[in-house]
């Protein structure tokens, strides 16, 4: 009799579940996949677009990957309109921090503020939760490169590699297998980084590999993908959202790991 307990977000079911939150997560599991992989020199974010048409103006159409700030880029999975509201809020939050403290907002604080907002909609107000999960990739001077995953419940956690959206469990298990896990803890004067042994190259390769296995179209192409990386340039975070040409180049470079269409 789940029906009785799922129309209001603010109440528990007898089994202690919040159905609306779960339904939101269900919505996300049908959305375009987003993958994030952390390396010692940066983070790769890749996403599958679900809206594809020759008529779409690709270069102006941002569906999955958005810059939050000079030091944070995020991939979204779920309801696009919900995602837009949250992106706008996050951007304003990050700018207010910069205005107040003359310093870029630490990544975790931005993610936490976003998640506190999402949590509010599961406890108050009688409104439905946001049907969006995020993968936030960012850099700050205290903790270096970080990748956070957040869900409609307002939970967030930090990952070395993560996946949200369609086929995420499939992707997650591949990532777990293939991610080079040996790490050294390095403590610099101001930067504490968990020294992943993955290089950017490894991360890009792994991303392509996982994408090819989870996206169920015949062939990976830049039409279906959005790609971004965050790295350091001259000690400052640098976000690069790839153009379709650049995506094609990446796919070409790592075509050895991309499963060819006929052998699937």
């Amino acid at each position: 009799m789940a029906r009785r307990y799922d129309s209001r977000t603010t109440i528990f079911s007898p089994e202690g579940r919040l159905y609306q939150v779960e339904y939101a997560m269900e919505a996300i599991s049908h959305a375009g996949t987003v993958i994030g992989v952390l390396s010692k020199d940066g983070i790769v974010l890749a996403a599958e677009r679900q809206a594809t048409s020759n008529l779409l103006e690709q270069s102006l159409d941002n569906e999955k990957i958005y810059e939050m700030n000079d030091n944070v880029v995020a991939g979204v999975a779920g309801h696009a309109a919900d995602a837009n509201t949250l992106i706008n809020q996050s951007r304003a939050i990050a700018q207010r921090y910069l205005l107040k403290y003359d310093s870029p907002m630490p990544v975790e604080q931005l993610v936490r503020r976003l998640c506190d907002m999402k949590q509010g909609y599961t406890q108050y107000g009688g409104l439905r939760p946001f049907g969006v999960s995020f993968l936030c990739a960012g850099w700050d001077s205290t903790f270096g490169f970080q990748l956070y995953q957040s869900d409609p419940a307002g939970n967030y956690s930090s990952w070395k590699a993560a996946c949200i959206g369609e086929n995420y469990s499939n992707a997650q298990s591949i990532l777990k297998q293939e991610y080079k896990d040996e790490e050294k803890e390095e403590a610099g004067p101001n930067v504490r980084t968990v020294g992943s042994q993955m290089t950017m190259d490894d991360a890009l390769k792994l991303t392509c590999q996982v994408l090819s296995k989870t996206i169920d179209t015949a062939k990976l192409s830049s039409k279906k993908l959005e790609f971004a990386t965050i790295t350091l340039k001259a000690g400052k975070p640098f976000i690069h959202v790839y153009t379709s040409t650049e995506i094609d180049e990446v796919l070409k470079k790592y075509e050895s790991v991309i499963k060819p269409a006929d052998s699937q």
Partner: protein
């Protein structure tokens, strides 16, 4: 006001709340018109290891040298040193505000700390906003720290004017000490050793004691380096008033 936000019936989600535009009326607004208990000059400059700063231990009540063991140098967290001149009650208000800021940081418990640049920005914003309301905090602040290996030395005053420089001095210090600092320190901030810095600083404070009629020879100095903030105990400057005997005129 804060608790109303949590009422489940009235609850409006944080990003949809609009604060009322009209301020509550409690009668005529009182504005700061003049400083009452005041501190005089603060002198600071960059040297090899960081920044060194000094201020005397006096809080004057007009021409009365009223409080002679006053602290006008304070540490903000582990990384920032603050010196103040002007109204002492306004300084105490700022101290409380900064205390709240640090408490918020502690509560967040996320391994992040506010750098000197951020503390400087917060103070600047407060000072400018107060001046815009016509109710200034009647102070001049000197803010110093070492952020990621970079030495930072800045100034904010009651107007909200800000600037950063190798050497800064407030009040009479701007007239009497700044020329000394410009001659001895500007352009060689990375060469000046701590020993030399202390000598230069003491000389500036001595000159100020001779000429500023609202100063005291008992001073404190402080330094901020990559290792943090250190504020010294008070000590008295040696002065030589022998020349006084040779003065003629004005009742001699």
């Amino acid at each position: 006001q804060g608790l109303d936000d949590m009422d489940p019936i009235e609850f409006r989600l944080p990003h949809t709340i609009q604060r009322p535009a009209v301020a509550p009326s409690h009668g005529p607004k009182a504005h700061t018109t003049r400083p009452i208990v005041t501190g005089t000059s603060v002198v600071a400059f960059k040297y090899k290891d960081g920044i060194i700063m000094a201020a005397d231990c006096l809080a004057s009540y007009g021409s009365l040298a009223r409080y002679r063991n006053e602290k006008r140098l304070m540490a903000v967290g582990e990384t920032t040193l603050l010196g103040v001149s002007g109204d002492m009650s306004d300084f105490q208000h700022m101290q409380h505000t900064l205390e709240s800021l640090l408490t918020q940081e502690y509560d967040m418990d996320d391994g992040q700390t506010l750098g000197t640049k951020s503390v400087y920005k917060c103070i600047s914003n407060i000072m400018y906003n107060r001046r815009t309301k016509g109710d200034p905090l009647w102070n001049s602040y000197v803010i110093a720290g070492v952020d990621n290996g970079q030495k930072m030395l800045g100034y904010v005053d009651l107007y909200g004017t800000t600037y950063q420089s190798t050497s800064i001095a407030t009040g009479y210090g701007g007239h009497l000490a700044q020329p000394i600092l410009r001659r001895l320190v500007e352009g060689r901030e990375d060469e000046v050793t701590e020993e030399e810095a202390v000598q230069i600083l003491d000389e500036c404070m001595r000159v100020l004691f001779y000429r500023d009629a609202r100063s005291l020879s008992k001073i404190r100095r402080a330094k901020v380096t990559a290792q943090g903030v250190e504020i010294s105990e008070p000590y008295t400057l040696e002065t030589n008033w022998d020349f006084a005997e040779s003065i003629t005129g004005y009742g001699s």
